[in-house]
């Protein structure tokens, strides 16, 4: 079971997916593509890992994917 966390006003919104359940994967892929099209950036990490690795494509075996926003000068 994996989880995508999208940073938002609530802290984050978590979307679960299961590599063995095609319907959850389809929904997760669709969300991944939508967020990527919005210019957001995805980082994957395994359970207990502190570092995230930037990913460009949905990984159904990722344990956690964190979505952040692009940066701008303040």
């Amino acid at each position: 079971m994996g989880v995508m966390r999208v940073l938002d006003h609530t802290g984050d919104t978590a979307v679960m997916f299961d590599a063995r359940d095609e319907s959850t994967l389809d929904a997760a892929r669709e969300l991944f593509d939508q967020l990527a099209a919005e210019g957001k950036l995805a980082f994957a990490r395994g359970l207990g890992e502190r570092e995230g690795v930037r990913i460009q494509e949905f990984d159904p075996h990722a344990e956690e994917i964190i979505w952040v926003r692009p940066l701008q000068g303040g």
Binding site: L7, D8, G11, G52, G73
Partner: protein
């Protein structure tokens, strides 16, 4: 006395303002270029009895004028009240500052910090990130301390897009992940000034020797 303060002009989206005082104290509002009577009344009611500073008045005038030619033409033909901006939403920005949202965001942030960073975060709500260009301290919004490898100290101002709709702990998560993964991009977009100076930040990229 209630007053309205301009926090930020959001290009293409409107004006982010904060209500100070009164029963709506602390509420964040986005005023957008509207033109419908109902929204016009909302803004009039909002401004009635409020102290509005010159900066916000100027920004409201610019917003009402509207940059696209189509909007300007429509405004000239329309009745005066139709050129007022409208109130869009306050909800996301308010929720982002709630304790529950900040607790969720803090959990995620802490899970990304190493032991040293975590101790520093818990002690003083700030932590350092080492990158090839030097050391960046995250913890003070709009005034990030940066010490370059040559010893130069700068104040950096860099934020995630629409950062006011995120709990502050999410802002640090956002900056931490992007800084670790692509520090060059971080320094490309960051505005900067000498650390400790009170002047405005200059536009990036940050000069790195």
């Amino acid at each position: 006395m209630t007053s309205l303060g301009l926090l930020e002009e959001l290009p293409g989206r409107g004006l982010l303002v904060e209500v100070v005082g009164g029963r709506r104290d602390g509420e964040l509002l986005v005023l957008v270029d509207g033109g419908r009577g109902r929204h016009c009344r909302q803004v009039r009611e909002l401004l009635e009895g409020c102290e509005v500073d010159r900066e916000l008045l100027d920004a409201l005038s610019r917003l009402a004028a509207g940059p696209p030619a189509e909007v300007r033409r429509a405004s000239r033909r329309a009745a005066p009240e139709q050129t007022w901006p409208s109130v869009f939403t306050t909800e996301e920005a308010s929720i982002a500052r709630s304790d529950s949202s900040r607790a969720v965001a803090a959990r995620l942030l802490e899970s990304l910090l190493d032991e040293c960073q975590l101790a520093s975060w818990r002690r003083g709500r700030r932590f350092e990130v080492k990158v090839p260009q030097g050391v960046v301290q995250l913890g003070e919004l709009y005034n990030l301390w940066f010490r370059a490898n040559n010893g130069t100290e700068l104040s950096l101002c860099v934020v995630p897009r629409e950062h006011r709709t995120l709990p502050v702990e999410d802002i640090w998560t956002n900056l931490l992940l992007t800084l670790r993964a692509d520090p060059n991009q971080f320094f490309r977009v960051a505005n900067y000034r000498p650390y400790g100076s009170s002047g405005a930040h200059g536009p990036g990229p940050v000069p790195l020797v």
